[in-house]
């Protein structure tokens, strides 16, 4: 059975089409990753599934209930960890969790012991009775996740759970999410900018671009779908002639998807070992000194580039500016 079914969701904010026909399905017990650059529509999709945002059109079922027609039924079975922390700063960690439990109609000893258990799970037992305003970013994030879990939801939404965390905290969060995922009944939909995060945590991913899912599958499937290798050539001195270098590399047999980025030229080739000498001699002939060459097996990054014609990491940096 599918825990989440999304069909043709559309949502327009004044000038922006945030969702432009998003469709995907998540199986029960699965960890599913939504991947995409800033503004792709990931959060809008998650907010819609968490019953906060009303779609203009389309349908979505979460835990078997329609998010528009029966939002309150959906709310009972989901945990929602928003991109922006929803922690009440003035309250302590424990008070945040207790109130969330009360909202879910929990009370008494079951609630208290559940809260204690969660504080331990996310490693906040020592800080439990301090005001959350004094928590670090990572502690707030862990409290957010505990808040989403109080009522033992069947579906958990994690919108960028590790953004803003240092590498150590991120690694700890990954272990956390893996542990949650190992409880087979919990379905997790997570969004991320980090390809390696999706690669590590998600059993299946969907790449979202401009409000649409452009490709969907397991990370391995997606990578296997790309034949060949990526060759990156660092020019020693392109002097603004990078575009000329692109046309040179284009003429090399087998090279495709050739792009320039600063002093670098990248191309996809069926076989790196064969292509590299050809590329180097072609460049040399036209007077381009080369300082380094690397080849790489396809990564999710390449999958992104392939399916959208856009460079994931670069676009992301631009969006963050």
């Amino acid at each position: 059975m599918d825990a989440i079914v999304v069909e043709e969701l559309r949502k327009r904010y004044k000038t922006v089409q945030a969702m432009d026909g998003v469709s995907f399905a998540v199986r029960e017990g699965e960890v599913f990753g939504l991947l995409g650059p800033n503004g792709a529509g990931k959060s809008t999709t998650v907010r819609t599934l968490a019953t906060l945002t009303q779609p203009d059109s389309g349908h979505a079922l979460v835990a078997g209930e329609d998010v528009v027609r029966h939002p309150n039924r959906v709310r009972r079975s989901i945990g929602y960890v928003a991109q922006d922390s929803g922690v009440d700063w003035e309250a302590t960690g424990r008070e945040n969790l207790m109130l969330q439990g009360r909202i879910h109609a929990m009370s008494g000893t079951p609630l208290r012991s559940r809260v204690g258990e969660l504080l331990e799970l996310v490693g906040l037992q020592d800080a439990a009775d301090r005001q959350a305003r004094n928590y670090s970013g990572g502690m707030k994030r862990r409290l957010d996740i505990a808040i989403g879990l109080v009522h033992r939801p069947r579906v958990l939404f994690l919108d960028e759970p590790t953004t803003g965390l240092d590498p150590e905290a991120r690694a700890a969060m990954w272990v956390e999410v893996e542990r949650l995922a190992s409880q087979e009944s919990l379905t997790i939909l997570l969004t991320t900018h980090y390809l390696e995060e999706a690669d590590r945590l998600a059993e299946r991913v969907a790449i979202v671009s401009r409000g649409k899912v452009v490709v969907e599958g397991t990370p391995t499937e997606l990578k296997a779908g790309l034949r060949g290798e990526l060759v990156t050539v660092d020019l020693a001195d392109a002097n603004g002639r990078a575009h000329e270098a692109v046309s040179v590399v284009h003429l090399v047999e087998g090279a495709s998807e050739v792009v320039a980025e600063g002093q670098q030229v990248r191309a996809r080739v069926p076989n790196g070992a064969k292509a590299i000498p050809l590329i180097l001699s072609a460049l040399e002939e036209r007077g381009f000194p080369v300082s380094a060459v690397t080849t790489a097996r396809p990564s999710l990054d390449d999958v992104y580039l392939h399916y959208t014609g856009r460079d994931f990491s670069r676009e992301d940096q631009e969006g963050n500016r």
Partner: protein, 256 residues
């Protein structure tokens, strides 16, 4: 019932959070006293303003109690803006929290704050020679009037908070509505001394319903029927504004 339970726990949340703000508590104590003492001095020589009270301070106390309640209520929506900015509201909305409970808990909190301030003002008033001529019932009527007045304006204020969602717009709106309502009321001067058109307008001013009920309770007592009507009007106003604020969640949800 779930709505009542949720309202209760959310009131507990706000009370506990506010109790951790010593400066907020200090201001809640000092500000009404400053008003009482300042206005008490300012108008003390103007004999005709007494409206039958034995001193101007006695005349003024019910007015200040109400002014305080209605200002407190009008500004209470700022708490909603903080919760919106901190995404606490989103967290509640994605859980099965009643929208009415989210608003009404704030309304109740504003009402309780105003009642506590009224108690403080009356006690200080007693020290300054104010007598509550309505006796025990008089005290209760003053508390009911101030609590309801704050609650009615809190509902309105939270509706505006959900509509404008920005501090600056909230402040502008509260001032735009608050100051005229204060001057079209008997807070500072007796109804008898008002120009006729203001007198007419003031009858439709919820602030004045609270003032009339409180002033009757403190200055004269008796004639409780009229006070009862004013209190019922304030109950109705609280219901209307709380439902208005609940309805305003639609506007907020359309924006996200």
């Amino acid at each position: 019932m779930q709505v009542i339970r949720q309202t209760g726990w959310m009131v507990v949340r706000q009370a506990r959070n506010l109790a951790r703000e010593p400066i907020w508590i200090a201001m809640m104590v000092i500000q009404p006293l400053v008003w009482l003492l300042l206005y008490g001095q300012l108008f003390s020589r103007v004999g005709q303003l007494r409206g039958g009270a034995s001193s101007y301070i006695e005349f003024l106390t019910p007015g200040i109690v109400c002014m305080n309640a209605f200002f407190g209520g009008s500004w209470s929506g700022m708490a909603m803006i903080t919760d919106l900015n901190r995404h606490v509201v989103d967290r509640f909305l994605a859980a099965p929290a009643s929208r009415f409970a989210i608003v009404f808990s704030q309304v109740v909190r504003a009402g309780i704050t105003a009642v506590l301030q009224a108690l403080l003002l009356l006690v200080v008033g007693l020290a300054l020679g104010v007598r509550v001529h309505g006796g025990v019932l008089g005290w209760l009527v003053v508390f009911a009037a101030t609590g309801l007045l704050a609650a009615a304006f809190a509902g309105f204020s939270h509706g505006i908070a959900l509509l404008v969602r920005k501090e600056a717009s909230m402040i502008a709106t509260a001032n735009f509505i608050g100051l005229p309502l204060m001057f079209i009321s008997a807070i500072l001067i007796p109804t008898a001394s008002m120009p006729p058109w203001i007198k007419t307008l003031s009858r439709f001013n919820p602030v004045n319903w609270g003032v009339e009920a409180s002033r009757n309770a403190i200055l004269t007592g008796g004639n409780w029927g009229a006070s009862g009507v004013y209190l019922l009007l304030l109950v109705a106003a609280t219901a209307v504004t709380s439902l208005f604020a609940t309805w305003c969640f639609r506007s907020y949800q359309r924006s996200i």
